[in-house]
C-alpha cells in the first residue's frame, strides 16, 4: 500500500494587472501659442462679464415676455368683458379657471423675470463667498448661473400663462351662449285693433299693457279683447292684425288706446 499522494494543489492563477488610474498630469505636445494666450484673455473677459451679460439678457426677456402677456390679455378682451356673462355656467367656470390661471402664471413669470433682470440687494460676506464659491469671480459666475436658472423658469411659467390665455380665448370663442331670455309680450286683439306690449297688470276689468315700441301704458277693457296671446315679438303679430305692414312703428298700428291715440291725433291734420 503505497503512500497516498495528496492531490496536487492547483497553481495560483496569476493576478491580473489592475488597471492603473491615468496619471494626474500629461505632458503637452506643444507649448502655448499666441492664439491660446489670446483665447485665455478672451475667456477671462467672457467669464467676468457673465453676470452683467446674463442680467442684460434677462432684461430683454422680461420686456419680451411682458409684451407677450399684453398681447394675450388683449386677445381676451376682444369680445369685451361683458361677453363672459353670456356663456353658460359650465363654460364660464372653465373660462374663469383658464383666465385666472393664466393671469397668476403671468404674474409669477414676470416676477421671476424681473428678479432675474434686476436682482435683489443682499448682504454678503467675503469669507463666506470665498468659502462657498472659491472666490469672488466664481461667485459672479454662480450669480449669473442663478440668473439664467431664474430666467429659464420665468420663460417656462410665462409660456404656461400664454397657453392658458390662448385656451381661455379659444374657450370664449367657442363657448355656447346662454339662450336669450325672451320678453314676455302680450298681444291683445280687439275689434279696433291690436295692442302689443308688456303686460303690467290684469284684473277682472282690464289689462294694463306697456306698449312695446312706444312710451306709455294703455288699458284694454277685458270685454273688448277678442283674443289674448303671448308673443315673442310685437311686430309681425301687429302687422298681420291690422294689415298696415311692417314698416311703420308698431305703436302706430296698435289700435286706438292710450299712446296710439295720441300718435294718431298728432298725425291727423287739423
Amino acid at each position: 500500500m503505497g503512500t497516498p499522494q495528496m492531490p496536487s494543489r492547483p497553481a495560483a492563477a496569476p493576478a491580473l494587472p489592475q488597471p492603473s488610474a491615468p496619471p494626474k498630469y500629461r505632458k503637452p505636445a506643444a507649448g502655448p501659442t499666441a492664439e491660446s494666450l489670446a483665447d485665455r484673455v478672451r475667456w477671462q473677459e467672457l467669464s467676468e462679464q457673465s453676470l452683467s451679460s446674463a442680467q442684460a439678457v434677462a432684461e430683454k426677456w422680461r420686456t419680451g415676455l411682458a409684451a407677450f402677456v399684453t398681447l394675450a390679455t388683449g386677445g381676451l378682451l376682444l369680445k369685451g368683458p361683458s361677453a363672459a356673462s353670456d356663456v353658460t355656467t359650465g363654460w364660464r367656470i372653465a373660462l374663469t379657471i383658464l383666465a385666472l390661471g393664466g393671469l397668476l402664471a403671468a404674474i409669477a413669470g414676470l416676477w421671476l423675470a424681473l428678479q432675474a433682470a434686476a436682482g435683489a440687494p443682499a448682504k454678503l460676506n467675503l469669507a463666506e463667498v470665498v468659502a462657498k464659491y472659491g472666490g469672488v469671480r466664481q461667485f459672479e459666475v454662480a450669480c449669473a448661473l442663478a440668473v439664467s436658472a431664474q430666467l429659464r423658469l420665468a420663460r417656462l411659467v410665462v409660456a404656461g400663462a400664454l397657453l392658458l390665455f390662448v385656451a381661455a380665448i379659444g374657450t370664449w370663442w367657442w363657448a355656447p351662449s346662454e339662450p336669450a331670455q325672451l320678453p314676455a309680450l302680450i298681444s291683445i286683439t280687439t275689434s279696433r285693433g291690436t295692442v302689443c306690449g308688456t303686460l303690467i297688470s290684469g284684473d277682472s276689468r282690464a289689462f294694463t299693457v306697456r306698449l312695446a315700441n312706444a312710451s306709455g301704458q294703455v288699458q284694454v277693457p277685458l270685454a273688448a279683447a277678442t283674443s289674448v296671446q303671448i308673443v315673442a315679438s310685437c311686430l309681425p303679430a301687429a302687422a298681420v292684425a291690422d294689415g298696415l305692414g311692417g314698416r311703420q312703428p308698431s305703436a302706430q298700428r296698435e289700435g286706438s288706446y292710450g299712446a296710439v291715440r295720441r300718435l294718431r291725433r298728432r298725425r291727423t291734420p287739423s
Binding site: K24, Y25, P28, W43, S50, K132, Y133, S148, A149
Partner: protein, 140 residues
C-alpha cells in the same frame, strides 16, 4: 523656437537660479522648454495643478515653482462662464473650454510672480514673461 534661458545670468545653463535676479523673458516667452520644465516640476511636486469645482463653478489653479524665475506661479482661472449667444438664449448655457476626450484639461499658464524682473514692460505689474502649457485631469 529655442528659449533664451541664459538671460538674467543664470548659474545653470538654460536654467536661471532662483536666488539670482532673472531678467524678464521677452525673447521666447512661449518656448516649449518652459512647458517641459513645468511638466518635470509637476512630476517632482515642485508645481501643482488642480481643478476644483465648488458651487458648480470649476476653477483651475496652478501653484508652485516657476519653470523660469523659480518664483511662485500663482495662477488661477475660472473655467465656467455664462454666455448670451443666440443659441443660448432659449436655455441656460454654461460655456466651458474645450476639454480633451480623455479628461485632461489644457491650461495655458503664465507666471504671475510679483518679484521684480529687469526688462519687464511698462504697464505689466507681475510675472517673469513666460507662458507654459499644463494638462491636468479634471477629476484629479
Amino acid at each position: 523656437m529655442a528659449a533664451d534661458s541664459s538671460s538674467g545670468g543664470s548659474a545653470i545653463p538654460g536654467r536661471p537660479a532662483g536666488s539670482q535676479v532673472v531678467a524678464y523673458q521677452a525673447a521666447a516667452p512661449n518656448a516649449y522648454e518652459w512647458t517641459e520644465v513645468a511638466y518635470e516640476y509637476l512630476l517632482d511636486g515642485k508645481l501643482a495643478a488642480s481643478i476644483r469645482t465648488v458651487g458648480g463653478i470649476s476653477t483651475a489653479t496652478v501653484t508652485g515653482t516657476c519653470p523660469y524665475c523659480k518664483d511662485d506661479v500663482n495662477f488661477s482661472e475660472v473655467l465656467d462662464a455664462v454666455t448670451s449667444e443666440s443659441m443660448g438664449t432659449l436655455s441656460r448655457r454654461t460655456a466651458q473650454p474645450i476639454q480633451a476626450d480623455d479628461g485632461y484639461v489644457p491650461l495655458t499658464v503664465s507666471c504671475s510672480c510679483i518679484r521684480q524682473h529687469p526688462g519687464r514692460p511698462a504697464g505689466v505689474s507681475h510675472g517673469c514673461g513666460i507662458n507654459f502649457q499644463v494638462e491636468v485631469r479634471r477629476d484629479a
